[in-house]
Symmetry: C2
């Protein structure tokens, strides 16, 4: 009998097909590496082909030249633009505003052919450091209400360039899904006077069936009401609502945890395309007792079809207990 499970934060129901569970080998793989090799604006020597960098990790070299190990540049084709006014206005019963915001690219390495999973741990740490630095900088612009940090790995996951990179979009509104998640967590807090994510971690750590990895600072789990096969969450053990409040020791450990998690997924699913997204509290809000930042990694293994679009109701053919076991057995720390 399939099972319906409810996400305790968003109250989203998910169908988990417990009977005919799909194993890693059952998925038609959307290979990560299907983007044609052509001129790459992110490769060293082509610094002039990107907009001017807003952040870089360099050993004494000048901006927009070679000699970097990581660069952050505005997206050449931004979905939002930083200059201008919001100009909120109506159009009959509709509402609109100008597309003010920021859209930046974190060029994660000089090596065109590597991936976040294959980089040295120290390089992954630089990427996470860049995320934090950019968030702290964008936070000073009071028009910006939310920063979304995400990565599309592989063409099937939406990447249009194969050079390893992640993205950051700063928005003038808090997205609906974030409001839902924050409100859901607030409802739980109002009732229990505890953070729902802290409670989930306590329960999951004890039950151990959906745990992938535990360190002193992070818990990696397959969530109870996972929407997708091998959906994986990384949660900091310490209660922290804003990703940008992460300290140096946390950053260092997160680099290890993220890299090891991606390597496990790469091993079990044969280098799948995937997306990851950092869920963090709204930028201009003070620390929240009820919200807890975390990363969500979603391998692209199934086609999302009309059912999911129409309802926000997901069908997951792989129980998270099974995917957790596959990932634990992958070893790699």
């Amino acid at each position: 009998m399939p099972e319906l499970r409810k996400d305790p934060v968003t109250e989203r129901w998910v169908i988990i097909a417990t009977d005919r569970a799909r194993r890693p080998s059952d998925f038609v793989r959307h290979k990560a590496a299907t983007i044609n090799r052509q001129f790459c604006p992110f490769c060293p020597g082509n610094e002039g082909k990107t907009p001017s960098e807003v952040l870089a990790h360099r050993d004494g070299t000048g901006a927009n030249q070679t000699g970097w190990s990581l660069r952050v540049v505005p997206n050449k084709f931004p979905v939002l633009e930083i200059h201008g006014d919001l100009n909120r206005e109506g159009e009959g019963l509709f509402d609109k505003m100008e597309g003010i915001g920021a859209h930046e690219v974190v060029i994660e390495s000089t090596d065109h052919d590597t991936t976040l999973a294959d980089m040295p741990e120290r390089q992954v740490e630089k990427v996470l450091w860049a995320f934090r630095e950019r968030m702290l900088d964008l936070k000073r612009d009071k028009r910006l209400q939310y920063v979304l940090l995400f990565k599309n790995q592989g063409a099937a996951a939406g990447a249009s360039l194969s050079h390893p990179h992640s993205q950051l979009i700063a928005l003038p509104v808090v997205p609906k899904r974030v409001i839902e998640e924050v409100d859901g967590a607030k409802n739980y807090f109002d009732y229990k006077e505890r953070c729902v994510f802290c409670d989930i971690m306590r329960q999951e750590s004890k039950a151990a069936v959906r745990v992938v990895t535990e360190t002193d600072r992070y818990l990696v789990i397959e969530p109870y009401a996972a929407r997708f096969p091998f959906e994986t969450w990384i949660l900091p053990r310490v209660h922290q609502s804003h990703f940008e409040d992460i300290d140096a020791a946390q950053l260092e450990n997160l680099a290890w945890v993220l890299r090891s998690t991606l390597r496990k997924l790469d091993k079990v699913l044969e280098r799948p395309a995937y997306n990851f997204v950092v869920h963090t509290a709204p930028l201009q809000e003070p620390h929240m007792q009820h919200f807890h930042w975390h990363m969500e990694i979603m391998p692209k293994l199934t086609n999302v079809a009309g059912f999911e679009w129409g309802t926000g109701f997901y069908i997951n053919p792989t129980p998270p207990e099974e995917s957790a076991q596959f990932l634990r057995e992958a070893g790699l720390g």
Copy 2:
């Protein structure tokens, strides 16, 4: 400057790229016809390979034999099962229940190689009639709270068999996205004492920039805050909350409207893969003054990536005003 637009019902913000709008020829086409031809359980002669039919359009022939023009059968691999009890229970802080429900397939034609767009209008009408009949029947089971009617056309849209078919999933809970849409419409109604969908139709019909087709009974539009390029909605002009309340004249006209809309999309986008979903009021609720059923058609032209998953915040590279114009200029009624 890109534009942020808010959906007046769900309050979802969408980024519309008004500057570098993508035209139909810019999309990498996910062709509908990429499913291998092999043994087809939906073709005439293979009636024994499906579970027993629950509804059919036949000229005097017996059930589960040839001589049909449309069949509805339970899905052989259902995501939910009709027998059993819900058994709602907790698991620490989590909630679950048994996967009770129904999952049926509407086999739309005897012709393996046709599509809903290419069938005679009378056959499309039979498909819509089957939707209504099945909903009315499932409504008698008081455990079922919602029926989702949808179609995945083409492998890229999630279809695993190419024989023309649509699906119906009856759920023991009202999905979150439906609650959101109904609640959003209720908020509007409480404030204005008018149905938001009726208001949208009045405004769109007058402005005419996002209208694709109008008949006495339906309005076809590209929605103001379209999430996807060429996202297309069909709305009944008369206020009606439940799809299953549709009458014979409405059914007949909807067959024409749906077929002509799919033909326009086929012409402009060269037979794209697509999903459609019927948004209707919860099954066991009485008529609602504030909710209005409609169909949403979503061609599969772009990859949905981490950004969309993380935020429910969509980036649409084609303004609905432009897609509406392309579809109007396609002719075909």
